[in-house]
Amino acid sequence: MFDTHADGVQTVCTPSLQTNAQRHQQPFSVHLKKVYLCRLVFYIYCNMANFGFSIKKTRSFNLSQADLRKAERLLEEVPSYRLCIGCGGCTATCSARQFTDFDIRKVHNTFRRGQYDKLADELRKCMLCGKCTLVCPRGVNLRSLIINMRQLLTPSHETF
């Protein structure tokens, strides 16, 4: 799933981090513009692609151009993270999720793919209660993962 192909071949999309609430808050004219832009892009893609479906541009990213240094550092600090199978048990049991939109699986997946913006704010929602770590079927040390992600994203700790 995370193999980087050699020449900039786009990988499968990552869901965006806007919540539904945020999308609905935009003014209607901006929304309209986005709709037309999407339709235009969709038209172009439909003509470019030879097979029946296409990838929406906003939901794709280029893994070869992503800055994976923080992600690699995270994997060094928390080696058990390599065991993650993406089951989502962590998100299912999350205490913060009982109150707000916080998807820890989405957050750590995104981090691993090199897209760090907005993650620091999301991670502040975590109460560090530890249920995710307890529930993980592969034994990933999620609490350590979250703490390390937060430290890597703090400006004063940033060396890269």
Binding site: S80, T93, S95, A96, Q98, F99, T100, R124, K125, M127, L128, C129, G130, K131, L134, V135, G139, N141, R143, S144, I147, R150, Q151, T154, P155, S156, H157
Partner: protein, 581 residues
């Protein structure tokens, strides 16, 4: 000369630290400075700094060794001063006591002089026996009951050698002088007579000079080594008796604690990371040393992280340093710890629980719902109206955040939780998680009483609201780290279990119970290592082959359940099964 430098350096350091006390600590000092609390402080100084009673209770050989050096040297100084005061007719200089025999050549004549001479010799022998034991401990520490001692720095080792050299040199110097002037006691005169006169004359000045140099090195280097604990401990005991405690950040009081650590190494033997996992460079003694010397920040962080926070080391510390708080201070997250994170909780409304007992299961109990179901059965059976605070969703008590150094975030959660609990108007708060219990009791300022479910069940049985039937089930009980060593609750769960069945004794219980391995304090251990800790704890619990292994913590239950074929149940479940009706 050494002593002047010593007092100057110590005085400077102490004053600087006092300036670093935080506001709460300063207020306490101003209030209590000259109160009667000085008396228990002096008593503790006598018992611990001189007699080392806490160490003697753990191990009498170690206690004897430390006592002979500390108390012996203290008495030597005191009686030496008295002796020279009596003996010297002229002006009195402070160095006269040290070099008394060198300057005062008359052999002891009257009763007092003979008494003092023999007494000084006896005390010197006492101290020398201690030094001998210390030497033996260096070579083979198990003879004195310690599996492992601290790995000291070069500076510490050098000064230790200087300290060890002081007393044999004193013995030899006094003996040689005794040979020349016959002013020695039973020890010094006997040894002195072994020398011939010309050898004695030749050796006299060099030996006294060496003695003096050893003393000087020791005193000059003392403030930079572990021996600073001699003075720091006096002040620490005084401040502690006045009521000062560690706060969440580094303060002057904590700086006193860091210097009061004598690096005796007693915290290493107890640490489960050492005795089960063979990790021996992260224990409290090394953390304190790194913090004191402000060694490389990364080392402090790395060593600071790898700790279960299970309280075992704090149980053995002879100076009674609050090691858990210092560990937490070392984990302080600084900029990463932001405030104002939990705005999403602002809309969580309070509830009305007038006349009811609020039951807070805790995050972990959400994963072991049989415990909260059992508690509900117990509440119903006792006719107590309750309100299950976190049946749908729960706000964490904040302890996991605090243990990792996110103090501002934990304060946010505390504020919100306190509001909610305060607004519910319950009569009491009962929780089935020891971590939450400790936090609600000591970190929150709730106006209602807080009980752990073991205490509460005990209260219900005592007041007659709950009755349990006897059976012949055998139990072993596991004292959770946070309930036992952390909060001191040992009797109540045992009373409850004895009312239901037969509680068997295990080899490591109460203050010595082993950590289950599943904990929120350590973010470094791998799952394998945690499993090893769990297996060690389980082997102790299943050794007498009980019918049920009883726990009082949802995390311990989750840890043990999959590690053994034996029945593992929480105490609430056991009680719920044995209700009489």
């Amino acid at each position: 000369m050494g002593t002047i430098a010593l007092f100057a350096i110590c005085g400077y350091k102490f004053v600087r630290w006092i300036k670093q006390f935080d506001r709460k600590q300063q207020a306490l000092i101003k209030k209590n400075m000259f109160s009667t609390r000085i008396v228990p402080a002096l008593w503790e100084v006598f018992c611990e700094c001189l007699l080392h009673l806490r160490i003697t209770k753990k191990n009498w050989r170690l206690g004897y060794m430390h006592r002979s050096i500390a108390f012996g040297w203290f008495l030597l100084i005191v009686f030496g001063a008295i002796e020279s005061r009596i003996g010297i007719k002229g002006p009195f200089h402070f160095w006269c006591a040290i070099f008394y025999r060198f300057f005062h050549h008359n052999p002891p004549v009257n009763g007092t002089e003979v008494f003092f001479t023999q007494l000084m010799d006896l005390l010197l022998l006492y101290v020398l026996s201690g030094i001998f034991l210390a030497f033996v401990k260096k070579i083979h520490s198990r003879i004195l009951g310690m599996q492992r001692t601290t790995k000291h720095t070069t500076m510490d080792i050098t000064v230790k050698i200087a300290l060890w050299a002081i007393f044999p040199l004193r013995l030899l110097s006094e003996s040689v002088t005794a040979r020349l002037y016959a002013n020695g006691g039973f020890l010094t005169q006997t040894i002195g007579d072994l020398f011939s006169r010309p050898v004695a004359e030749f050796l006299e000045l060099p030996l006294w000079s060496l003695y003096s140099i050893a003393l000087c090195i020791f005193f000059l280097m003392l403030p930079f080594t572990r021996y600073m604990h001699i003075f720091a401990e006096l002040f620490l005991i005084y401040f502690r008796k006045l009521g000062l405690r560690d706060s969440v950040k580094m303060t002057g009081y904590t700086k006193y604690e860091l210097s009061a650590c004598s690096r005796c190494g007693m915290c290493i033997d107890r640490c489960p990371l050492y005795n089960t996992l063979d990790i021996n460079d992260v224990q409290s003694v090394y953390l304190l040393r790194n913090l004191r010397n402000l060694e490389h920040h990364q080392d402090i962080l790395a060593a600071g992280k790898n700790c279960l926070m299970c309280h075992q080391c704090a149980e053995d510390c002879p100076v009674d340093i609050d090691l858990m708080s210092i560990r937490r201070i070392s984990r302080d997250k600084g900029d990463t710890d932001m405030s104002d994170n939990y705005r999403y909780l602002d809309n969580v409304k309070g509830f009305n629980a007038i006349g009811r007992v609020a039951y807070f299961g805790g995050c972990m109990t959400q994963l072991t719902p049989t415990i909260s179901e059992a508690m509900k059965t117990i509440f119903d059976a006792a006719g107590v109206k309750y309100w299950h605070l976190d049946s749908n969703r729960a706000i964490c008590c904040g302890r996991p955040l605090m243990q990792q150094g996110f103090n501002r975030q934990a304060a946010d959660l505390r504020r919100k939780n306190s509001e909610l609990i305060g607004s519910c108007n319950a009569t009491a708060l009962v929780t089935s998680c020891p971590i939450c219990y400790h936090t609600f009791k000591h970190e929150y300022n709730l106006s209602i009483p807080v009980y752990h479910h073991t205490e509460y069940i005990d209260m219900l049985i005592k007041s007659g609201k709950l009755s349990v039937k006897q059976s012949d089930t055998t139990f072993t009980y596991h004292d959770p780290c946070d309930l036992g060593r952390g909060s001191g609750i040992y009797k109540q769960p045992r009373k409850v279990l004895n009312a239901i069945g037969k509680l068997k004794k295990i080899s490591a219980e109460k203050e010595n119970s082993l950590c289950c391995g599943m904990n929120l304090g350590n973010t470094v251990l791998s799952l394998d290592q945690q499993t090893q800790l769990r297996d060690k704890a389980l082997s102790v619990l299943t050794e007498p082959n009980p019918d049920v292994v009883v726990t009082a913590c949802p995390m311990c239950k989750k840890a043990f359940r999959h590690g053994t074929d034996a029945n593992v149940k929480d105490i609430a479940e056991v009680v719920a099964e044995h209700l009489k009706n």
